[in-house]
Amino acid sequence: MTRDAGLDSDGRGVLAALREFGLSGVEEARLVRVYICAGDFSLREAENIAREFLADPVVDMFSVNGFVTSSCGKHEATVEIIRRVGVMDPAEASVLKGIREIGLDAQWVRTARKYVLRGDVAKDELKSAALKVLANEVIEEVVVGRDVKALAPEGEAYEFVRGEVRLDGLNDAELAALSAKGQLYLSLAEMKTVQEYFRKLGRKPTDVELETIAQTWSEHCVHKTFRGRIRYREEGGSEELIDNLLKSTVAKVTRELDKKWCWSVFVDNAGVIDFDGKNGAVFKVETHNHPSAIEPYGGAGTGIGGVIRDPLGTGLGAKPVMNTDVFCFGNPDTLPADVPNGCLHPLRVLKGVVSGVRDYGNRMGIPTANGAVCFDPRYVGNPLVFCGNVAIIPKDMAKKRKPTSGQVAVVCGGRTGRDGIHGATFSSVELDEDSEMVSSGAVQIGNPIEEKKVADFILRARDAGLYSCITDCGAGGLSSALGEMGEDCGVEVELDKVPLKYAGLSYTEIWISEAQERMVISVDEKDLPALRKLADEENVEITVIARFTEDKHLRLKYGGVEVGCLDMEFLHEGIPQIEREAVWKAPRHEEPKIAEKENYGEDLKSLLGSWNACSKEWIIRQYDHEVQANSVLKPLQGELHDGPGDAAVIAPVLGSKKALAVSNGINPKYSDIDPYHMAASAIDEALRNIIAVGGSLERCAILDNFCWGNCDKPDRLAGLVRAAKACYDVGKAYGVPFISGKDSLNNEFGVGKDTICIPGTLLISALAVMDDLSRAVSMDSKEAGNYIYLVGTTKNELGGSLFYALHGAVGNSVPQVDVELGKKVFAAVSAVSAKGLARAIHDCSEGGAAMAAAEMAFAGGLGMDLEITPLAGDLPTHVILFSESNSRFLVEVPRDQADEFVQVVEGQGAPVRRIGVVTNTGRFFVTRGGKQVIDESLTDLKAAWQTPLAL
């Protein structure tokens, strides 16, 4: 069916995209939505389906088995795009349901998009254009000029054969080849350990046993790098042996701080802290990088879907209340010729990722209220997609549970298909131009409505006390979920009981499929009838697939035949600890020579318009950030709701004044100088953002997400070690525990003999409890006449800054964190907002104090007069304006409260200077010693900031 031309905005979008691609001969494009419905119904019944259900009588035209658009002869071409057979089509279930409600029955449904183009178009050109801009070959087929074959979305029958693999007698090279060929990605040492294990047992492993070990031992699942031994040294220095980097840095902060309000840390899918005495706040952030590189929409959507299942599978199950999203992409203006083979253009990745997050998060009814986007050319082959979820859980349900022997394991939600095979192992290796082909099986397409149903069902079953333990199916699928649940007691799984999307899956595929939207719970058999009733009410499929035993073994059966039997202890503890070398050699960058200028207005506008600093409103508006009615401070703030907020504040318990502030800190550019200071600055930034919205560090926890290159390389690993060390030093000093974390390594993209390695990237996500939401402070300037203060100290720290980047330099003077100073500044600003003395607070980060002040001014729609002399000392003007020194805030204070404000800040020992006043001139005016250095209209500054990403 198709829509009136005037309403066919899809068609117009496609026309624009094709013309932009270079098909200048296209004059018109129309979208025709195609539903291929197989069923035993007459033409008249099919017409009824179309008339009553599929078409909108006010605006659509439709045709059954025919053409809905009138032909205009030879100047017409059609291109049809349909999901590949076996790829999830979330619409199928809904269409089947609608047809059923009408009283008819369809066997299967496929949906497709057909574009009818008018104008002068060559077929081969059209095909390549369609592949580039309209479809993704990994999941979709493109057919030009004829109708799609109506293939049933079903697989072929499966014939059961128990498969064994010979390990005995294989030499090193043969073991390595076996690991590579089977996409096991186990190291030689690991393969040898496996070989030895089965030699002792005196038998061959089965295929599924090897796969299980590969999944369980993947970098993604066990974090070998962080848990391994590292010989670390700085060039010319002595060697330090680090046994388990995670335990000796990140987790050590938490252990030493030993906060009573940390309810569950590092032992579950997500961390839990005390929210209001009755409920815990749960937080988890993880990455979904590799899938998003290959299929941005599906990758990002399932990234969100996956991280939502983490809190849902924490303790006895938490209710999701907010999402966060942080992305790192190549520059949107990258020339197509500069995009390596096998990579999608960064702009396409960006648009796909944003749509994926939008469609999954919005459909789940979870507000996406905080995020960030970083750009750097080195993310072109390895875009980073960090997805986070905050949830609420009752106190007595917050602790991790384990199943008991005799209970059964029930899988709830989505069926299992061939999607996402080898996701866990695939995500633990480097990508190259062939990755797209090798790993298309690793791509998953999400179905958020399935997950919403599962979440609704789980929370009801939880409150009814119908299960005793829960976990999600994430990386590694059932293999990880059941392997982990049965770790202490043992479990026997009947793989033929697992409900499938279509026939044809082998038992191994069933076991390791990462099909989405599945949760596993352990249930007493007596509770099964009640559980089934609840599941029926919520239209959720549940199936008993395993039983927990006492023999501490993982047993896999298919049709009664045992296809796998592994000792739980070997599976979980048998992995050989790796030992690696890390050597740090501090890079020296050329120090740019920047002469002082008379006027910095143009520089300020360039910085505001840089990819990293510019407005992300185009993205933010596509996310529902207010569903659940918990929004207190939104991501966009100010008179016209378009200024950049520092952190989200939500009140997740309806009617309660208790709130949560959620923020992030990330600045990979500093890694080019020293990952230590990069990490320290990321922590400082995340905490600054919490403080800026009126929060405090009193009950504030943080999460780490490391994305790094290949840590087999000593220089990469050394950077990682340095970043982890900073986590310990700064986290400990600020008194903020880490409660959860994740790492994604091997983010390098092979191009010929070389690789493009991402800058070492650490995302710090912060979560803080606020007792009274009415103390929240937004960043927009409020009223002419109010004073502007700078709290904190500006130093000559332009290394890695946006300002240096503008001048094509990196420099060496990277911003450092002075924790003693930082503690005073944070305490001072928290005290100010607790007393209600601040009308606006904004933190100084990328672009420095000048950028922060400009953002406050145009967000408030008011002018600002600043005199920077009191900050000057001997510093050059551009340093005062643009240095990115940590632990600094701009605070707007009413004149009649100025004395009290200064008293409070100085009482905490923090440096404070009055630097100006809010005006109603509509101009941003900065002087040094009375001499003007910036004089710009707010309209121009705001336009510079808003234009670049107004897509």
Partner: protein, 262 residues
């Protein structure tokens, strides 16, 4: 005086049910979340209720068109029961996806289930062709018959949708809606005048944001009153020092009061 009871109808993909229930409770009513599967077997599932709310969300993924699968389900599974509820004088409010559902059954604007192919109005993709979340200001028509709103009043709340552009089958349909007081809310600019994008976030005909049936008892709107229950929900509460209740609560309170006075 009895406490009016609201049924918050939910199904797969409903996601504003909890806050809509909370809104009715805050407004002095009683409210319950009820899954549509619960209604099928019951002879008169609406007997104990004075208000039916269809909350926001993405029922069945909004596949085919927003609210469409749910509309077909309501028509075929609950048609007679719902018609009886309407004839008995029950109130219905559809918010966002609920509005999309009501209009696709025909209950809006005609207060009855439309025969296939005969609907008078629909909601289609925003002119911007994307989902957008932003606050809007609306003004109630002076002649509106809608029992949920004060004629002529202004109100702010967030809109968050991708398919909110109202289209009528003909100009005559629209003129009739206007003349009979069935146009409830129109988007207006911050100053109160004719809005342009994004003050009108979707390009609706005549900037219409919400409509009702001829009796005023069935009401649908795209923006979300249940997301402006407290002053702190407002995007400028820190600027304008807003405290206390939010404006959206008025809609729920009017409904509860209407039922109490019946």
């Amino acid at each position: 005086m009895t406490t009016p009871r609201a049924m918050i109808l939910r199904t797969a993909g409903t996601n504003c049910d909890v806050e809509t229930k909370f809104a009715f409770e805050l407004a002095g009513g009683a409210a319950e979340l009820v899954h549509i599967n619960h209604l099928v077997a019951d002879r008169d599932p609406f007997a104990e209720y004075q208000i039916l709310a269809l909350p926001g969300g993405f029922t069945y993924g909004d596949d085919v068109a927003a609210g469409k699968v749910m509309a077909v389900e309501l028509t075929h599974v609950l048609g007679e029961k719902l018609t009886a509820f309407v004839e008995r004088g029950g109130l219905i409010i559809g918010i966002c996806n609920g509005f999309q559902t009501l209009i696709k059954t025909g209950l809006l604007p005609e207060a009855k289930f439309a025969r296939p192919g005969t609907r008078q109005a629909t909601l289609v993709h925003n002119d911007s062709h994307k989902f957008e979340a932003r606050w809007v200001k609306m003004k109630a028509a002076e002649n509106t018959v809608c029992v949920f709103v004060e004629p002529g009043s202004e109100i702010e709340m967030p809109a968050a949708h991708g398919e909110g552009k109202l289209i009528c089958r003909s100009e005559e349909v629209l003129q009739n809606l206007i003349a009979r007081g069935q146009v409830v809310y129109r988007y207006v600019s911050r100053g109160g005048g004719e809005p342009s994008y994004p003050e009108d976030p979707n390009g609706s005909i005549d900037h219409v944001a919400g409509i009702c049936d001829e009796s005023g008892r069935i009401f649908g709107l795209m923006p979300h009153p249940e997301r402006h229950l407290f002053a702190y929900h407002h995007p400028r509460w820190t600027r304008e020092k807003r405290t206390g209740e939010g404006e959206g609560l008025r809609i729920f309170r009017k409904a509860v009061e209407y039922c109490q006075n019946c």
